[in-house]
């Protein structure tokens, strides 16, 4: 899609546009709020010795239990007459220090265990993780209590206890990540570069795990502070007279009804502190987690937003076409950049015809096909112009309900990877009948019967048995046959097949191609066949449309295009593929790379790579010229027959 849209030449350094983590964090107002509260509290706590505060530990029985806002005691005093404000500030200092150091200790040991276990795997992993399981098998507070009971009460011992109790959280999540990373190819590559296991673990793997460690830390500190407070509350943490938020709360408990402020104030303080840390921690996680960054949280709507600015009402469908896409423009708005993935695409399909859409990744072929039924994710995608006519009906102005009726019925899809298109937890029969029942008023048993017929149709032996199996029990070729059966379940008029054989082995691919070819003749269905392979195109397509940088650059009958390509790009694309039986052929590589679709040139997008380019190619947009029956090209200086580029 847009992944090929990385900078073409080292003109503009990509580093300059690397998303700034701090700016991303500041965009999140909750996290920013948490951050500022946390920083303020931390600064105040750090500055405690220099602030004009009363001594937190000096008792003054005469001033006991003064209410808040008393002179000299802004937050009142406790049962021993100590200044609550001063104790809160000093107590926060203690709580933050304990929470932070416990987190660091737990993170260090937990991550170390996780890294070693995940990287070494096998027996080492089993031993380490069973140890971790044993720690986790105890209720954590009981374990902490036991540790404190053995070591004796005291703040430092409480800190150890809490750190130990939290080691499993780190060890388990880090182990999982490390396990996945150690099987990645870059680890093998590092090994072949001569790095030792320790070097691989700490130089190659650790940097990739670090964000997860930081995320886990940021979400654990708040929890640690709560646990410290809990132990202190029980009298096992900070010992009198030392102030700590938990022990203050514990002291205030006895006089909760006579002097509520003694316990409410530290309670509120814990609440604000932990809330601010958690909000900030969530913000940090959102910034560092690559999955969240790529927009998992923004849920696309059910149909691509249509926002046509120009008057596309003037467009009229062709008389002989069953599907007619005219001047389709689909854009992606990401950040401040607009990616024109489809920049005025014209495609049409006659009844029973197979049109091949050929192009490299990033040429806009999939986006154009997905736009037809509104399957481009919105946000960020939107259709900004053109029309797609199914018969006489403009699909872009149809209602959502109408589109829902048409999807999977009149227009169906077959995708590249059948394993990810089929639901792993439902049987083939369930999924086929679901496709049938979504569009037809039939009973369940009738639908099952139709499903069986469909499996027969796609030449799956023993269909009644196969209906009961799950997708993982079938081979890749069988799964793709199921997908084709599903696409044909409701007598589709148009089948949109997006690289349906790319993931398959050659022998299987050949069979799927002949199956699709037979079925379209039997069913008189038109196929929009997206591929990057001219060999596949020859096997099944009647006509071909070649796409480059979001536009169709050439169309015509398959054989004619293969024999005498008119656009220099088509010619070069055909020349750069090795052909079976012609091993002597020197591969004529196309130098350079396609332009980014967020920065398209004014004129021809291929001009920079084209041997025939002249000044006029770059001056203005190139119109499409029809130079023969059914042949058109978007080029000012097309390749003549017999000419070599």
């Amino acid at each position: 899609m847009t992944e090929a849209a990385v900078s073409p030449a080292p003109k503009a350094r990509a580093t300059a546009r690397r998303p700034d983590s701090i700016r991303l964090l500041l965009n999140n107002s909750l996290a920013t709020g948490g951050f500022f509260i946390l920083v303020t509290m931390a600064l105040v706590a750090l500055a405690a010795p220099f602030l004009p505060l009363a001594d937190p530990d000096v008792t003054a029985p005469a001033n006991r239990l003064m209410p808040p806002f008393s002179p000299d005691h802004f937050l009142g005093t406790d049962a021993l007459g100590r200044d609550i404000l001063s104790r809160i500030v000093w107590g926060t200092r203690v709580s933050l220090a304990v929470g932070l150091s416990a987190t660091v200790i737990a993170a260090f040991f937990g991550s170390l265990i996780g890294l070693v276990a995940g990287y070494a795997a096998g027996r080492v992993d089993s031993v380490l993780m069973r140890g971790i399981d044993m720690i986790m098998a105890f209720p954590y507070i009981l374990l902490a209590l036991a540790i404190v009971a053995v070591l004796g009460p005291g703040l430092l011992n409480a800190l150890y206890a809490i750190a130990v109790v939290n080691i499993p959280f780190f060890a388990r999540s880090i182990r999982g990540i490390t396990l996945g990373l150690s099987r990645r190819e870059f680890v093998d590559a590092a090994r072949l570069s001569g790095k030792s296991n320790a070097q691989i673990l700490f130089i190659e793997v650790l940097p990739n795990v670090l964000p997860v460690i930081i995320i886990t830390m940021s979400t654990t500190i708040g929890w640690m502070i709560l646990e410290t407070a809990g132990l202190s509350f029980l009298g096992l943490g900070a010992q009198p007279p030392q102030a700590d938020l938990g022990s203050m709360l514990g002291e205030g408990r006895k006089i909760l009804f006579t002097a509520p402020h003694v316990s409410v104030v530290p309670g509120l303080m814990i609440l604000v502190l932990v809330m601010s840390i958690n909000l900030f921690g969530d913000g940090v996680r959102d910034v560092l987690d690559p999955r969240l960054k790529s927009g998992v949280l923004t849920r696309p709507v059910a149909r691509t937003t249509v926002d046509r600015k120009d008057a596309s009402s003037g467009l009229k469908p062709r008389a002989d076409a069953i599907l007619d896409v005219q001047d389709l423009r689909t854009e992606f708005h990401l950040g401040g950049t607009v990616y024109k993935a489809a920049g005025g695409v014209d495609l049409h399909l006659a009844q029973g015809e197979c049109l091949g859409v050929v192009g490299e990744s990033g040429s806009g072929k999939s986006v154009s096909a997905m736009s037809i039924m509104g399957l481009v994710p919105s946000p960020p995608g939107r259709i900004v112009g053109g029309a797609a006519f199914l018969g006489n009906e403009d699909l872009f102005s149809a209602s959502d309900e109408r589109i829902r009726q048409l999807r999977g019925a009149d227009v169906s899809h077959v995708f590249q990877d059948p394993l990810s298109t089929l639901h792993p937890l439902f049987t083939i029969g369930d999924q086929l009948t679901e496709a049938i029942l979504a569009h037809r008023q039939v009973s369940g048993s009738e639908a099952m019967k139709i499903a069986e017929d469909l499996l027969n149709l796609v030449r799956i032996p023993n269909p009644s048995e196969r209906l009961k199996v799950y997708p993982h029990e079938l081979s890749g070729g069988m799964r793709q046959r199921i997908c084709i059966a599903m696409a044909l379940a409701n007598d589709a008029r148009v089948m949109i097949a997006d690289e349906p054989t790319t993931a398959l082995d050659v022998t299987v691919q050949a069979q799927i191609l002949s199956l699709m070819n037979t079925l379209r003749h039997e069913r008189d269905a038109a196929i929009l066949f997206i591929t990057h392979d001219f060999g596949v195109v020859s096997a099944i397509c009647d006509r071909v449309a070649v796409m480059y940088a979001g536009k169709v650059v050439e169309t015509g009958a398959t054989q004619e295009i293969l024999n005498s390509p008119a656009h220099p790009y088509t010619a070069k694309l055909i020349d750069c593929v090795p052909v079976l039986g012609e091993p002597e052929r020197r591969l004529d590589a196309i130098e350079g790379r396609p332009p980014m679709v967020n920065n398209l040139p004014q004129g021809c997008a291929f001009a920079d790579r084209c041997p025939k380019a002249q000044a006029d190619c770059r001056a203005a947009p190139i119109p499409v010229t029809e130079f023969a029956e059914g042949r058109s090209v978007r080029c000012l200086h097309p390749v003549k027959e017999g000419e070599h580029v």
């Binding site: 190659e204 060999g535 020859s538």
Partner: protein, 329 residues
Amino acid sequence: MSEPALLTIDRAERVFGGGRTIFGMPKPAVHAVQDVSLEVRKGETLGVVGESGCGKSTLARLIVGLDRPTGGSITLDGRDIVQDADKNPRKLARKVQYVFQDPVSSLNPRKTVRTILTAPLIHLIGLNRQGQERRLEELMEAVNLTPEFLDRYPHEISGGQAQRIGIARALAADPEVIVLDEPVSALDVSVQAQVLNILDDLKTRFGLTYVFISHDLSVVESVSDRVAVMYFGRIAEIGPAREVFRNPNHPYTHLLLQSAPAPGRRSLVPEDANTELPDPYNPPPGCAFFARCPNATGRCGESRPALEAKSGEATHLAACYHPHGGKEE
């Protein structure tokens, strides 16, 4: 066989799983590579073709020492690779290198290209800083990239450029053999041609020996001197590339060639033939291709044919009782 073999694989075998549970029940085992014997001579390109699950990637990992065979031996210039991989992996890595299929995931996302390329220079050949700089420049020039790419991160470069970095890394320690595991299958066709041309160029410039693994027959045909066709963990056919592609002996090779899409050719394959591989946990006693083979007879289902010369050429071997277009036994 004028030149002596540089790399010799003798009856290599790799079994995954196996062994027994603590109750003594046998655990299921999969033979990923079985009884594979072949030789690669200095300066030649051996293509290894086969479909997914045929064991070609496992074979590749055995050659570079990323995995150990469970049987047989692999020798490079008379030295045992398996022993080297255990005792002295750096020495092995100086001689045999590997180019991965997925160019982007074979580069550590958190390292710059410079760090990635410097690692083999430090760990394998111990160059000093000045030497590293000079070698980096040479490498970037060899794979036709400007030095500016050295300071980029993997996500800032395209797939084709990333694969060239992968090739540069393999070249860094000046190896004798490079194993290329589907080096172009993740690339766009126009980029694929660029990378193939670079590989071709490097081979002549540095006198390299390639083991080129791919599922794409036309790519293998265009780069290989000799070809080995693998099916279900074994070699089905091996011989000079020209000979194997023009005159396939094994019916499987013939089927592969028939199935490969080629511009200007309509498919010739029946749409409902059996494409299932045999159950790897329960391999058939005879030829693994038996169930799919048009020439199969009872004998094929009972005993396994040996890899022998079938067409008169001593260098062209096939494991088949009823070779395609050849004489019957």
